[in-house]
């Protein structure tokens, strides 16, 4: 009798464990199949020309995605320039002035902003900027910055909250004003986690396509100014991928590969950066 009961428990345990492993496998299948496919097809597009030449016109042979890499980097840099300071400061506010009446409101709107579909943010940037200065890298960067703000803000808040109270008290007891305590001692202690949050935010916006599509549109040339569009890796995948031209389709796979490597690279860098520190 007792043995039977025990056996049932062992069987239940095995079944549960099996289900967990099965779910894990199911979750990993899409990931590996995507990476496998992109590597397989993208690799054939890779050449020196691919990294040095701009996109060719229809029917033209060869060419590359150098302009899209340049454009994507410029867009990310510009978006970070707008998004990081705002996200950082609102994160500091949420963590250090949580007793302030506004902080609950700010946190709530932050969460709402985080949940808004990126296409809607794109449309917002469209009405605000595209309608006045036209499709441009500025409009795209603005949209991406808005996507970035809640991510940076949330991770900054969490990182700063992890700095122990005793460290703040040590600074305050030295007669250091509160704002200086925050901007030096606390920020210094949270630096690693904040940098991690910013990089993950960058990785997130690097692959955004919908808001870029409605704010920048299609551009096949090099960067020409902040009031003009730039080429973009994510849009390459979208626009070339659905085109009927073989050369363009190959460039789309190549762009997808570069994009995945960029995001993967940032994530690996973050992990290495965090591990080195502890």
């Amino acid at each position: 009798m007792r043995l039977d009961y025990y056996m049932i428990r062992v069987i239940k345990d095995r079944i549960a464990l099996g289900l967990v492993f099965l779910s894990l496998l199911l979750a990993l299948i899409p990931l590996f199949s995507i990476v496998y496919e992109v590597f397989l097809r993208g690799a054939s597009a890779i050449s020196i020309e691919f990294f040095t030449q701009p996109t060719p016109t229809v029917g033209e042979k060869g060419g590359g995605i150098a302009n899209a890499i340049q454009g994507t980097l410029i867009t990310i840099a510009l978006a970070s320039l707008i998004g990081v300071p705002i996200g950082l400061m609102s994160g500091i506010f949420l963590s250090e002035y949580s007793e302030h009446r506004l902080s609950r409101l700010v946190r709530f709107f932050n969460d709402v902003l985080n949940g808004i579909p990126s296409i809607i943010i794109g449309v917002f940037a469209y009405t605000l900027i595209v309608l006045s200065i036209g499709f441009s890298v500025t409009a795209a960067a603005f949209a991406l910055a808005i996507i970035m703000i809640p991510i940076v803000s949330r991770t900054t808040e969490e990182a700063m909250k992890l700095v122990p109270l005793s460290i703040r008290e040590a600074a305050i007891a030295l007669g250091i004003p509160r704002w200086k305590t925050v901007t030096t001692v606390v920020l210094k202690g949270a630096r690693k986690a904040i940098v991690t949050g910013i990089l993950l935010g960058v990785a997130r916006i690097a692959g955004e396509s919908a808001p870029v599509l409605v704010t920048m549109g299609y551009w096949r040339w090099w960067f020409e100014g902040l009031d003009r569009p730039t080429a973009n890796l994510a849009l390459n995948v979208f626009i070339f991928g659905i085109s009927p031209f073989e050369n363009w389709i190959m460039l789309a796979w190549g762009s997808a590969l570069v994009l995945i490597m960029l995001v993967l690279g940032i994530n690996v860098f973050v992990k290495a950066y965090v591990w080195r520190g502890y």
């Binding site: 008290e169 040590a170 007891a173 004003p177 001692v185 210094k188 202690g189």
Partner: protein, 252 residues
């Protein structure tokens, strides 16, 4: 000699809970005053009221007067930041700034208040570490992280850090409770030496420590000041029965 602190009708609360009840006492300059009493009697709250740290806890409140050299630190127009530069604090657990070197830890108070002159900083760092009895142990290694020191060294580093801004008073909240006996005796020796130039108020759980280091002893119980006087008198002929019971170890 005029007292350094005159505390008049001091009350303190955490939310609705009153933790200090009508405290009246004077603290003498350049002496060591020990605050003793069982856990939860308001010892820590009391010294945190002396440099306006108590009010930093959300929901905490203070009433009454704390005259510091005759000026009420709770008076109108008094900046707590300035008060805390004159009244330093050492905490129960050593809390050096984790991302800073030994040198930067000691220099932090000056640096963050705008002192940039390297010569001044060098002099102050050396003098403070010497005062805290740590100089000889760390002088070749000032760039090392403050967190890499042993517990006792970290606590002396915190004392050096507090001394670097040249306070007049040093508040110590059970500074030895996290330390081994050898580190403890080093810090007790240090307290005696510092008392020549500084006013020291030390909270301690250790009755023998109070007897060893202090000139005056105050016994707190349930938020009230039960007895206060010269340490010798408190330990040899306490007037209050509770005090006697506490120092003889009958409760606490």
């Amino acid at each position: 000699m005029a007292p350094k602190f005159e505390i008049e009708n001091l009350n303190a609360w955490f939310g609705a809970k009153q933790v200090l009840k009508n405290i009246n006492m004077k603290i003498e300059e350049k002496s060591v005053t020990a605050i003793i009493g069982p856990s939860g009697c308001g010892k820590t709250t009391f010294i945190r009221c002396l440099n306006r740290m108590h009010e930093l806890t959300p929901g905490a409140r203070v009433s009454g007067k704390v005259l510091f050299d005759g000026v009420d630190i709770y008076g109108k127009g008094v900046d707590p930041v300035i008060i805390r530069r004159k009244i330093g604090m050492v905490f129960q657990k050593p809390n050096p700034f984790p991302m800073m070197s030994i040198y930067d830890n000691v220099a932090a108070g000056l640096k963050l208040n705008g002192v940039k002159d390297r010569k001044i900083l060098d002099t102050v760092v050396r003098r403070s570490l010497e005062l805290a009895g740590l100089w000889d142990e760390v002088k070749d290694d000032l760039k090392r992280s403050g967190a890499s020191l042993s517990g006792g060294q970290q606590q002396r580093l915190c004392i050096a850090r507090a001394l670097a801004i040249e306070p007049e008073v040093l508040l110590m909240d059970e500074p030895c409770s996290a330390l081994d006996p050898i580190s403890t005796s080093k810090i007790e020796l240090l307290i005696r030496q510092l008392a020549k130039d500084y006013t020291i108020v030390i909270v301690t759980h250790n009755i023998q420590q109070a007897a060893r280091v202090s000139d005056y002893t105050a016994f707190f119980y349930l938020g009230e000041l039960i007895e206060y006087g010269p340490t010798k008198q408190i330990f040899e002929s306490p007037k209050n029965e509770l005090t006697e019971k506490y120092i003889t170890g009958e409760f606490g």
